[in-house]
Symmetry: C2
Subunit: 351 residues, 2 copies
């Protein structure tokens, strides 16, 4: 072994592609960046609400919000001085035209305008933020997410699917993009070269599946030699996944990956939920996802279970627990943590 | 002489304080940064128009526009890659709430909000931009510039003085601040330690003199051991300095510096003006400032003359010519240029 040269294939060099956008990807990326500098975040570009939606409508740019969240997730933590990261997290709370705008969104919008190239803009922002890895829009096509409901009607726009005001009781039959979107080429390259592909967690129809609707993405995932892992949500979501069990999440992912697809692992939470929090979530129509492990096992090669929940006031995946588990699945047992922090205790059962 | 240690007092260590704000300061700073890394830009905080005025009104922050211009002036030129500097120069050209906002202004506003401290915000922005020297708001008091006209009426707000729509024919009698503003402490320190203080160029009543209206600033200038230089404007300005000769500019500066003040130098342009440009400026009521050098010489110790104009489509001071002249006056003849670029030829007559 040559001194000063690390052996190939250590965790710190693992190429892991995380597919999603929003809060779910944020947790996965924050955890995984402790293990590897070879992260790629593939981000949905169908957001149409809030600050992103306004920028999209008024400036005609791709929505920057999910890109921003993933950039922040991959930026260095624990800076003592005020940095660009803090600014990215800032949201204007007053001002006629600025109220509600995230500064990070304005930053990305200005960069897209000045550079005239979305991939370039995100790359520059990443460099300025000192991120580990890369963030890639799944597509550069300006398109909208649409949902066909069980009654045949169609909802247009991610924000109307994310927060169902129209017919919230009618289930989603399927989702599609209008117009059809083409894959961003660097995403296809990242998928082809990946050691692992992590799909989810995140809102099933409004954050995760939109990535799989982009032409070329399911094929690239299927063709990739990577270990393929789906991380199932902890909670159902009103108007989107009401009554869904774990296997129903997995089934929908398989459906949008298309014929011939296979997942190596599904990660399903089996930790217990604090009662007080469940009550609050139930008021918003969100219930724990039932871990029907046997049904899951009929869909994927192996089911990985354990407590992957964060403590705190929100029912979220714990970045460290989730990343530890994912890195185990990627092929090294036990995973060796790059950087500091104890490795979380985790029981992982497989079938 | 110790190897690796530069002799004290070289040009690159000269502490030069530039007082103004806006386009005039931009030119001086861009030129002087080639000579010294000890620059301080003292910036008026009375702007009430444009993007700055909107942010001031809507967010209740100090106006960032002049700070931004000086930060850009002191940031490194000639980057080949897209940098924060390019973003600072970008202005949104559409979008209901964003149209007309300079990104640099939004950046500084967000920094002020997140840091909760204007001096700190400007310092951090300076560090991010990699500036040479420092930029300081002349005051942290939220105040407005007011002009008393010759007919006794009062105009409130810098933007209404800068662009005179009210009674443009009635001359300005005097300007004052409401409420009275207190000096920003680091400005007093910079003035006390300065080797040179450069006042102007810039709009007399709306950019330069507002700095001298801040309590403590005239006293600090008078008490400073620095060489004191006033750089006279090239052109008069409609509604502000109509018919002004060079000595009238100097006289107004002396008046607002107050009793006991002295200027070591007045820099007066004696270069000739391209006729085509003069015609265009005349249409806006702007005429060349007549260099009444004898009258000037009765007000200041020495009058420095020469061609300090830039070539191009605007009648502006040339950064390199002006900086070369100023550095000569600061005490080293001829000035030694730090960094690249030829030293401009300049005839400098003194009395």
């Amino acid at each position: 072994m040559v001194i000063g040269q690390r052996p190939k294939g250590t965790d710190s060099e693992k190429r892991v592609v995380v597919i999603g956008g929003g809060t779910g990807s944020y947790a996965v990326l924050r955890g995984l960046k402790q293990y590897t500098s070879g992260l790629t975040a593939v981000v949905t570009m169908m957001d149409s609400g809030g600050s992103s939606g306004r920028l999209r409508d008024e400036l005609g740019l791709l929505p920057p919000g999910d890109l921003r969240q993933c950039l922040v997730a991959l930026s260095p933590d624990g800076q003592t001085t005020l940095t660009l990261r803090n600014l990215f997290l800032y949201r204007f709370d007053r001002g006629k035209g600025l109220n509600g705008h995230s500064f990070g969104n304005l930053f990305l919008s200005a960069l897209m305008e000045v550079s005239g190239d979305v991939n370039q803009a995100v790359k520059i922002a990443g460099r300025m933020l000192g991120i580990k890895g890369q963030v890639l829009p799944v597509t550069l096509t300006d398109c909208h997410l649409c949902a066909r409901l069980a009654d045949g009607s169609v909802i247009v726009g991610e924000s109307h699917i994310d927060v169902r005001t129209e017919k919230p009781q009618v289930p989603i039959e399927s989702v599609f993009l209008d117009p059809q979107a083409e894959a961003n080429l660097p995403v296809l390259e990242a998928l082809a070269q990946a050691d692992a592909i992590v799909i989810g967690p995140g809102d099933l129809y409004s954050s995760v599946i939109p990535n799989l609707l982009v032409r070329g993405i399911p094929e690239a995932i299927k063709a990739s030699p990577a270990v393929k892992i789906y991380v199932c949500n902890l909670m159902t979501k009103a108007g989107e996944t009401d009554g869904f069990t774990a296997s129903m999440f997995v089934q929908e992912i398989m459906r949008y990956l298309g014929p011939g697809a296979s997942l190596d692992y599904a990660v399903v939470n089996t930790g217990s939920f604090p009662a007080a929090l469940l009550k609050r979530y139930a008021e918003e129509g969100a219930l724990p996802v039932h871990p029907d492990l046997d049904a899951c096992a009929e869909l994927v090669s192996r089911v990985s279970t354990g407590d992957v929940m964060a403590s705190g006031s929100l029912l979220r995946h714990d970045p460290a627990k989730l990343a530890g588990l994912v890195m185990d699945l990627v092929g090294r047992q036990p995973a060796t943590l790059v950087g500091a922090g104890p490795r979380p205790a985790l029981s992982s059962s497989a079938r």
